[in-house]
């Protein structure tokens, strides 16, 4: 059963701590998106990758957020230092290389982050 796997599912941390969220895309998918969901802003695109190369990370606060794909099976989103306003659910989604043909993104179940 192919699915996107995100860890951790839940994370509670204190302000100033480093947080790393991980995503394992579906095998064979080479497009990976990171979204942040809050009640106020809805689903915000933070960054996305194709073939491990970042295509757009303009949605990320650059001073504290970073996103990487160390290899094709792992995407990471790091926050350092974390702040209470970073509290949200972070979703990873993956798709095949040509979204113009398939159009479908497959979402993980999300990582719920609470920064105290």
């Amino acid at each position: 059963d192919a699915r996107v796997t995100q860890t951790p599912r839940d994370k509670v941390t204190e302000m100033g701590q480093e947080v790393t969220m991980r995503c394992q895309p579906i095998l064979g998918h080479n497009t990976v998106f990171w979204y942040r969901q809050t009640m106020k802003q809805g689903l915000e695109l933070l960054a996305y990758f194709r073939n491990r190369a970042p295509l757009d990370d303009s949605g990320m606060p650059k001073d504290r957020f970073s996103a990487e794909m160390p290899d094709a099976t792992l995407a990471t989103l790091k926050i350092q230092p974390s702040e209470p306003r970073d509290s949200a659910v972070y979703f990873c989604a993956s798709g095949t290389g040509d979204l113009l043909n398939t159009g479908e993104l497959f979402f993980g179940e999300g990582s719920r982050l609470t920064v105290l």
Partner: protein, 112 residues
């Protein structure tokens, strides 16, 4: 820049009633449009998509959506809502560099 607007944050309908969720998009070229559904505590699941051709597209769970270029709209409809349809619904547009942008979502409540 591409964007999606879902003007209704929250909608309540009675079970068995019809449903229409509104979506307006902004994109300079031919849009590729989607509707996703999110159940509580879950990720998003694709309901349907429009790429080209027939402007009325059918999706899973009895949903359909109609693309209207003149109105820049892609509204989601269902003739008869079931209690299990209670969820949050997101409209999205695929634009330049294969960037997928979502609207802020519409939360659907179904009452008996």
């Amino acid at each position: 820049a591409q964007s999606v607007t879902q003007p209704d944050i929250h909608i309540t309908v009675s079970e068995g009633a019809s449903l229409e969720l509104r979506c307006n998009y902004s994109y300079g070229a031919t849009p590729y449009l989607f509707w996703y559904v999110q159940s509580p505590g879950q990720g998003l699941q694709l309901l349907l998509k429009y790429f080209s051709g027939d402007t009325l597209v059918q999706g899973i769970k009895g949903f359909e959506a109609e693309f209207k270029r003149s109105q820049s709209s892609f509204n989601l409809r269902k003739p008869s809502v079931h209690w299990s349809d209670a969820a949050e619904y997101f409209c999205a547009v695929l634009g330049g560099y294969q960037k997928v942008t979502f609207g802020t979502g519409t939360k659907l409540q179904v009452i008996p």
